[in-house]
């Protein structure tokens, strides 16, 4: 079959199109494109079916596992595919690793090393027990995240644009540094012992719950990395779609109850906002996918992310 590959402005990428086997899959097409251009590896390619001009429909993205024939209408032996370059990509594992490594290294620097002299605080100062436990808690959290990245998570997309590395690292590393600065400050004012014990205890519980949520999510997907979406079930997922985000937010709240800094609370508000955006999209996607038709189950009524608010 013949495949015409065009850019979004209508320009033909390959004169005369690409000739492929009738039984070729989208993955074969991606490989052919890569061979011919040498620049655009498969994960950089976004291939969609053409939409009629002026139409507001979202274009159908070609899935690499399906065969091209599935996208041809009728008996036609040619198909036109729209190409978009997503830019240099990195694997999600790489992205997450660099994001989380920053906080893991930067925070302890503020606890263990005499950095505050550079901010004008010279001489000895007392360190409170809560600051020590905060350091352990924080580092445990990011260590856990890195471990989950390599051993637990199964990603629906293999890659993410390279620019996200800079953006995400800036976010995590800056917040990490600012929070570390305030919690380990020579003039830090700790809360009562009861309060920080409750804070860390609650936070740890939530981290464990969060870990269990990740395990449940992992088991929804098969190990061969085919991705896909299932209705999450079990544990907190029975009442809230994105229980993993819920536990993550509560875990940060626990940290803040224990350490009480404006910077920390600002961080949890921003993080909650970002996760809420993701949660809404995921909830919507699942509801749309599991609409109860064609033998598919109907997505049950659940909270999105933070009962009883959303």
């Amino acid at each position: 079959m013949k495949v015409n590959v065009v850019t979004r402005s209508g320009r033909e990428l390959f004169k005369g199109g690409i000739e492929l086997n009738d039984s070729a899959t989208v993955a074969d097409l991606q490989e052919a494109i890569y061979k011919r251009t040498k620049k655009f590896c498969a994960s950089r390619q976004r291939l969609t079916l053409a939409v009629p001009p002026g139409s507001k429909e979202k274009p159908t993205v070609l899935s690499s596992k399906k065969s091209l024939k599935d996208y041809c209408d009728g008996n036609s032996n040619t198909i036109t595919v729209v190409f978009k370059d997503l830019g240099p990509q990195v694997s999600y594992r790489t992205l997450f690793f660099w994001e989380y490594l920053g906080p893991l290294i930067i925070y302890p620097i503020f606890y263990y090393f005499p950095v505050y002299q550079f901010f004008g605080y010279n001489g000895e100062y007392v360190k409170h027990p809560v600051q020590k436990y905060a350091c352990y808690y924080w580092c445990f959290h990011y260590f856990k995240r890195i471990m989950e990245t390599f051993f637990v998570h199964r990603f629906s997309h293999a890659t993410s644009p390279l620019s996200n590395v800079f953006r995400n690292c800036a976010y995590y590393w800056t917040f990490g540094a600012v929070i570390a600065y305030y919690v380990n400050h020579p003039l830090y004012t700790p809360v009562s012992e009861l309060q920080w014990k409750i804070g860390f205890g609650f936070g740890l519980l939530c981290q464990l719950a969060n870990f269990y949520c990740h395990i449940l999510l992992k088991n929804l997907r098969s190990p061969d990395g085919s991705g896909g979406y299932q209705i999450p079930r079990g544990f907190l997922f029975n009442i809230v779609t994105c229980a993993n985000y819920t536990t993550e937010i509560y875990q940060w709240i626990g940290f803040n109850i224990a350490t009480q800094t404006v910077a920390g609370y600002v961080f949890v508000v921003v993080a909650a906002g970002i996760m809420t955006n993701w949660a809404l999209a995921k909830h919507r996607r699942l509801k749309k996918l599991f609409d109860g038709k064609d033998g598919k189950p109907k997505y049950p009524r659940r909270w999105v992310i933070l009962p009883p608010f959303l």
């Binding site: 003039l187 800094t261 404006v262 910077a263």
Partner: protein, 238 residues
């Protein structure tokens, strides 16, 4: 009902625009008059009241954009209004030592001319009016056909070539001049220790603002260049 609301909206906007236009006209008048008669040291005192009023009224611009009363992009107006309010209240009003500097004159004159032209031309930015009976414009020209005269548009979109650099340099200059006063006074600073383990240093915040001007100014300038191209080519085609 819809017709009445839209009428109310037009009346409100007309009153608002005219009021702010008048405020800036006062600023320009007093600034130039005082500059010629008494010298640059007295300009701030002469314009303070209308300046504070007219500049702070700009906050309403943002609200108008947010509630959809006008179709202006909040993202473009926010940095400009933000920097103006910062310099007006956070620098000039808060640190009187800066008020006698000659940059105050260049600042308020640049702002005043820019604002006067903007408010005179505001009609052409708005969505299509069905109601074209009376429109205000700077030189009292009555627009019955629905758009500002093209020379007024040209004026608005071309004089920024000069006014943006003078305005921005005055802003940056005044912030820089204020720095030692900011540091010594410790005004608006929050110090540790405190219950919320938070600190804020107005001096370093001012340095950060200066740093933002470095990418921010070319961004605003090129935005105006783009707007100019869009508006002037559109009116040429009409």
């Amino acid at each position: 009902m819809a017709g009445f609301l839209s009428l109310l909206k037009r009346v409100y906007l007309s009153i608002y625009n005219w009021a702010v236009f008048f405020g800036w006209a006062q600023v320009l008048y007093f600034a130039v008059k005082t500059l010629i008669e008494s010298g640059h040291e007295h300009v701030y005192n002469a314009v303070e009241k209308p300046l504070l009023l007219a500049q702070t009224a700009a906050v309403l611009e943002i609200i108008h954009g947010l509630i959809g009363l006008v179709r202006s992009p909040v993202s473009a107006t926010l940095p400009q209004i933000g920097s103006r309010l910062y310099v007006t209240w956070g620098i000039l009003y808060s640190f009187p030592e800066t008020q006698t500097h000659f940059l105050v004159s260049s600042l308020v004159i640049s702002w005043a001319i820019t604002e006067i032209k903007q408010y005179a031309c505001l009609r052409d930015d708005s969505e299509g009016y069905e109601w074209n009976i009376i429109r205000y414009s700077f030189f009292g020209v009555k627009e019955v056909f629905g758009s500002a005269p093209s020379w007024l548009q040209w004026l608005r979109y071309s004089t920024f070539f000069l006014l943006y650099p003078t305005g921005i340099s005055s802003e940056v200059g005044l912030i820089y001049i204020a720095l030692p006063y900011i540091k010594n006074s410790g005004k608006y600073c929050i110090r540790m220790p405190n219950k919320w383990n938070f600190s804020f240093d107005y001096y370093y915040a001012a340095l950060l603002v200066l740093a933002i001007y470095v990418p921010g100014s070319p961004h605003m300038y090129t935005y105006m260049l783009g707007q100019r191209k869009k508006v002037l080519s559109k009116s040429k085609r009409e």
